[in-house]
């Protein structure tokens, strides 16, 4: 099995290189930090959207689960990102400037807003029940609801900016996929958030969560299929080696979990199976995308061959 280094022999691919060495540097991001963050950020973002809709439709039990999931996902995700830095003690330098040309700068501000707002929304909900009804409870609840409403904006951004983050690099399997990756990530995030809400909400109130999960699984499956088809040669890292195995497993878990979510209804067993499959599927997708990027950077073919083709098409 070809997995590392020059997976495409030069003669076969018809290109030349310097001792088969990569042209670009592979991403330095680690496992499990980065892919777990991608999962948690997506889960947090969609949970916020769900919390807003649950609040508006009066499904308070589901709203509470989603508020808590959103806050926890953003907080743990941000901690993972800080731990990922070469100089973690300088993590606040992320908010030193606002740079529209840097998706990581834009994303840091989005994540800062998402974690602050979702924490406010969740803690208002939690402490509201503890305070005596006559005290500051109504005020607190109103503030929490305002924060919640604001996450209706930051949530979808948190769930999708990460696609721009990885695509805005020289890594061929990421950059060339910049059209489909946001949809893949959005679908994966919906499946993840729907799964958490399904598992953590009484089944009678979890119908919308099951619908979100099923829709997300469908979006993720469709986006992944379109992406691999359109990428052609540059998409090979998504099909081969370790990344290929991860993406294949993700495809099965997500499709299976999505179908189960659609039929689970109030069945305890089906809900549990579906929720676990979707969670595992979303995680596999994130690990798979990261690994595909690394593989496509490590093999000079993916950098050189498309550029050569572009040059010969132009001349």
């Amino acid at each position: 099995m070809r997995t590392e280094g020059a997976a495409v022999p030069e003669a076969e691919a018809g290109f030349r290189s310097y001792y088969g060495k990569p042209v670009i540097k592979p991403p330095v991001w680690h496992e499990p930090h980065m892919p777990t963050y991608l999962y948690l950020g997506g889960m947090s973002g969609v949970s916020s959207s769900m919390a807003v809709m649950a609040r508006l439709t009066g499904n308070h039990r589901l709203a509470r689960t989603a508020r808590l999931a959103a806050a926890a996902g953003a907080a743990v995700g941000a901690a993972l990102l800080a731990a990922e830095l070469g100089r973690p003690e300088r993590f606040l330098n992320m908010l030193r400037v606002f740079k529209p040309t840097s998706p990581m700068s834009v994303g840091s501000w989005i994540l800062a807003a998402q974690s602050g707002l979702s924490a406010a929304a969740a803690s208002a909900d939690l402490t509201g029940g503890l305070l005596p009804a006559a005290g500051g409870a109504p005020l607190l609840a109103a503030a929490g609801d305002a924060a919640l409403l604001a996450t209706g904006l930051t949530g979808p951004l948190t769930a999708t900016y990460t696609a721009v983050l990885v695509a805005d690099t020289a890594v061929p399997a990421w950059h060339e996929a910049y059209r489909e990756l946001p949809f893949l990530f959005a679908g994966s995030a919906m499946a993840a958030a729907g799964a958490v809400a399904m598992l953590a909400t009484p089944r009678a109130q979890a119908a919308p969560a099951r619908a979100v999960a099923a829709l997300g699984a469908a979006v993720e499956t469709a986006a992944g299929t379109v992406m691999e088809r359109r990428l052609g040669m540059v998409g090979r890292p998504y099909r081969e080696g370790r990344a290929g195995r991860l993406m294949g497993t993700a495809r099965m878990l997500t499709a299976g979990g999505g179908l189960l979510a659609a039929v689970a209804g109030r069945s305890r067993v089906l809900t549990a199976l579906s929720g676990l499959a979707l969670t595992a599927g979303s995680l596999c997708t994130r690990f798979g995308v990261l690994e595909a990027g690394r593989a496509s950077a490590a093999d000079p073919a993916y950098t050189i061959v498309p550029q050569r083709e572009r040059l010969s098409a132009a001349s």
């Binding site: 030349r16 290189s17 310097y18 001792y19 060495k21 990569p22 042209v23 670009i24 540097k25 592979p26 991403p27 330095v28 991001w29 969609v46 959207s49 769900m50 439709t57 009066g58 308070h60 039990r61 830095l85 070469g86 100089r87 973690p88 300088r90 993590f91 330098n93 992320m94 030193r96 740079k99 040309t101 840097s102 998706p103 990581m104 949530g155 979808p156 769930a159 999708t160 805005d168 690099t169 020289a170 950059h175 910049y178 059209r179 946001p182 990530f185 959005a186 729907g194 009484p202 919308p208 619908a211 979100v212 997300g216 979006v219 109030r266 950077a297 050189i304 550029q307 050569r308 572009r310």
Partner: protein, 274 residues
Amino acid sequence: MAERMGFFTDTSVCIGCKACEVACKEWNQLPDDGFVFEATSYDNTGMLGASTWRHVAFIEQSRPVRVEGDEGSVDRWLMSSDVCKHCTHAACLDVCPTGALFRTEFDTVVVQSDICNGCGYCVPACPYGVIDRREGDGRAWKCTMCYDRQLGGLEPACAKACPTDSIQFGPLDELRERAEERVARLRADGHEEARLYGESPSDGVGGAGAFFLLLDEPEVYGLPPDPVVTTRDLPAMWRWAGAAALSMAGAVALAFLRGGALPNHQASVRGGTR
């Protein structure tokens, strides 16, 4: 702003002595790269990285070349000293979230090591694989075109040390003219394969501040044949992400409106506990 300064590396006169690598390491106090040779060549640094800001590539080709007055042939040995391109449109600088990477008054691209938090985003962004994070130190490092020496009116250490003037330092406009003349002369002498790399302001990075005269395809030297700054597509990337964000919000809303209408969904009736 001072004049734009640059490097013209004429690989046709490079003798592979690595004086540039050593001078760079001495001046910038860079750690060694270990002592492992690439394949069967004299290359012990492999490629540019956090501690390798000049990299001399050795390419041994079995392709024969004509030698004056000799019907036989010799194998060709290409050598080339690679360096950060100090791109006009530098991806590393564009994506840096902290502002650690900046453009100097000499139009070069430099990392401020007191600001870099080691996020590593610049590393996969560079289309040439130049910048890297140094393990242990945690920050990103690359060639500064000897910013400190330039501020003191000195030429960079590598150019100073190069015994054959393969590395030339000066105002970029002058270097481009000189390079055009050199490539024309080599071609007139029968070296049809001589070409400039990175000199054109119309290329994918808007022209490199450090450009090269090569005797073969760029990829043979480990250089990308047609690099493009990734941020060129950034507006399109945000448009696709925006569409995905909107679709996602819409899909969630749909799930609730449909889910709320389900007959067995009593909990959506108003009056749940606070």
